[in-house]
Symmetry: C2
Subunit: 433 residues, 2 copies
């Protein structure tokens, strides 16, 4: 069966051509945008074209943040002005129309910010410049370790009277592309933007040269508009034995606005759809209902994931497992499991691992899930949350930047992912945990 799943994915796979349509005919699809609505309608039609047992939408109100005009920034070094690439962080407020010009101070952690205090920070722009730690093997761990600067940095700096925040892009690659992503304001809001890693290195070297007259200028016109009605898109293959017991596989349909959201998370939604298409095409009749979910609003609110869990509880749906694919369409390595006892994890490592080993998707480890399925954590009976784990090395080169385009997805890598996830869904459906 697993061999047949792979043959279908590798010989007749539709994942890559579907992703091409999503990226090239629709493109960026930030929550609340016209493109996001287009993606919902296209996704529903596509699911319907495959003749699944049920295809429907789940209403959800989502934030509507817009970037506005292209941001501008420059380092002002005496009478020299050096433009640098920035982009507003998601959910940031705008600068005044004329922009902000202020002295700039570099910090590497929230702790360092605290130790500098109001004396050093008031009236300045805070430049958060802690790079990715290259020693992590998984780049996701480096992202996790650097992420507090983007999320908590702006409000933390505002507390000491900063007038703006500039955050080093969350990537290891050194280039000219700024990477956006959500910040999380507490009470105090100041405008915040990401700077490209090359821009950050330049700014840092100028600051280190001991020139204390360096100022920074930036201007952005982003704003948050009223919430908008949007949707999760859901398709189902009905379970023959347990129609109200679900195995859910999903990614998120929304993306950032700087590119096509190919790897984040076009690959994930198209793989989720492909799982159902493969099983349907093979004439497989699942014991449990298999559901593909295109979640809305993972990037700046997680409203789709929350709504899904809320309705699952309300409708008394029992979830056997929920799988998320939101780490790119790279070569599969395995899966991470949350909510599985050590005994059960050992058991699947004895029974399933040998079946998955020939396909090199057999790394079955503790811990894993995803933002969209996270709200299912409290469900009763408990849900096993599973994160699909592809190779992580290239993800943050692209993530949230203008480089996240279709051309940076490899067809075979993507298809191997679809097949690997389908194989896991099949094993769960047949054997449970």
């Amino acid at each position: 069966m697993i061999r047949k799943i792979y043959d279908e994915a590798l010989v007749n796979g539709k994942c890559y051509s579907n992703l091409h349509e999503l990226c090239k005919n629709i493109g960026p699809r930030l929550s609340g945008s016209a493109n996001a609505q287009k993606a919902v309608e296209w996704g529903k039609k596509l699911m319907e074209s495959y003749g699944f047992d049920r295809v429907y939408l789940q209403e959800v109100m989502v934030p509507h943040w817009v970037r506005g005009e292209k941001e501008q920034a420059k380092i002002i070094d005496g009478n020299k002005e050096i433009p640098v690439p920035i982009c507003a962080l998601g959910m940031s407020i705008a600068t005044p129309k004329e922009g902000i010009t202020a002295g700039i101070i570099e910090v590497h952690s929230l702790k360092e910010l605290d130790s500098l205090g109001e004396t050093n920070i008031k009236g300045k722009i805070v430049f958060f410049n802690r790079p990715f730690d290259p020693r992590f093997i998984e780049t996701g761990a480096a992202y996790g370790a650097a992420g507090d600067q983007r999320r908590a940095g702006p409000s933390a700096a505002a507390k000491y009277g900063a007038v703006g925040a500039i955050v080093r892009s969350l990537t290891e690659i050194i280039d000219d592309y700024p990477h956006t992503g959500s910040l999380a304001y507490t009470e105090l809001k100041i405008p915040a933007a990401a700077i490209s890693t090359k821009g950050a290195d330049l700014l840092s070297s100028l600051l280190k040269s001991g020139n204390h007259n360096i100022k920074f200028y930036f201007k952005q016109s982003c704003q948050t508009l009223p919430d908008v009605l949007s949707y999760n898109v859901i398709g189902e293959l009905k379970g023959t034995e347990n129609p109200n017991r679900y195995i859910t596989i999903g990614g998120h349909l929304d993306s950032w606005d700087l590119a096509e959201g190919a790897s984040d998370d076009g690959t994930g939604v198209m793989q989720s759809l492909e799982v159902l298409r493969i099983l349907k095409t093979m004439g497989y009749h699942p014991k449990n209902t298999i559901r593909a979910v295109f979640f809305m609003n993972e990037e700046n609110g997680d409203k789709g994931g929350q709504k899904y869990a809320e309705l699952a509880a309300k409708n008394k749906e029992e979830h056997l497992a929920a799988i998320e694919t939101d780490e790119g369409g790279f070569t599969p390595r395995g899966f991470g499991f949350t909510g599985l006892s050590m005994a059960s994890l050992q058991k699947i490592n004895q029974t399933w691992q040998p079946l998955l080993e020939p396909y090199e998707v057999d790394r079955l480890t503790a811990g894993g899930g995803g933002t969209d399925i996270e709200p299912l954590k409290g469900a009763a009976p408990a849900v096993v949350l599973i994160g699909f784990r592809p190779d992580s090395q290239r993800y943050f080169d692209l993530h949230h930047s203008a480089k996240d385009v279709f051309e940076n997805v490899n067809k075979r890598e993507l298809e191997l992912g679809s097949a690997g996830i389908t194989a896991l869904v099949y094993l769960i459906d047949q054997h449970g945990f």
Copy 2:
């Protein structure tokens, strides 16, 4: 120790910047070319700059094939002429100056060729068009299964009176780039070229349309010049306990002429060098002599590998192991071992696998090696031959084509490979098999 190896590779790695120099300052370096000689001299100087215990050259005579002018080809469909991208296969003879124009017949295997026989083939160009089988998980297996067309196809077609051979590029990706590579003539020689996969699909669809008046034209001016003196480049860290027992790690310095040979095999030679640099920088004193070898002439003759084995035998060098890295600088998955008993393989899977698992380079399997180290097979005492196994999905997208450039190498993937190989060398040096 392994953690320290990774830290050195990921924080201070020189592999990526060295590869940049090789690709951008030297570039293509086919055996016998001026660039190949430049690469030898540059490689030796680079090794010397690291202060290894010994750096030297090994003389070897190599073939000197040159491509000549850019090849031309077109499909002639009545009075319509459609240009298609081709490149001469390595070691092919030229067409006559005016090119060859002839009818063309599509075949999918050498067996089909035999069944068609002289009646159908005489005076025609044979078009070998068996694609990669996408069902293989490892792309190297698909390459192996399709490779007889390129290697044996031309002389096999000549046997039945064919006047030329056109071979589908050995890649799964559908694009406009032809992929070169060596053919192996037996007695009969006819000009042979690779056609891009898009060109092959177009030609096949026109032939299938039932139009029997289709002809094919191609022209190439390649030739084989007299052999040239060249070199393997070797660096050593002297063994403290067994100076005449060797652990050799190598890749090949020569490359095809269509691009920079970044992934084939710039990544391999730069990783081999990096192994020694890392161990030297860490102040590690190996028990056995660790050798990095830049082999010459893997692509069209394997003379460097043969010379290395010949001199190893002559000098009574005992090789504990020889490792080859020639499958690209992609994320490491593990190593393949040839000449290791099942018991020894089980043992290292019990003892070394857990040490390598946190770095995800722990797939230690039977079978593996490489063209350059293959001639060591008959050595006494027996040598364990080891192939470094990175992720295989993207290699044949680039392999032997104009796309094999530095920009298609990922820094972290490359560095993780250097570190993984160094870790293995360390384990072999400490524990043997």
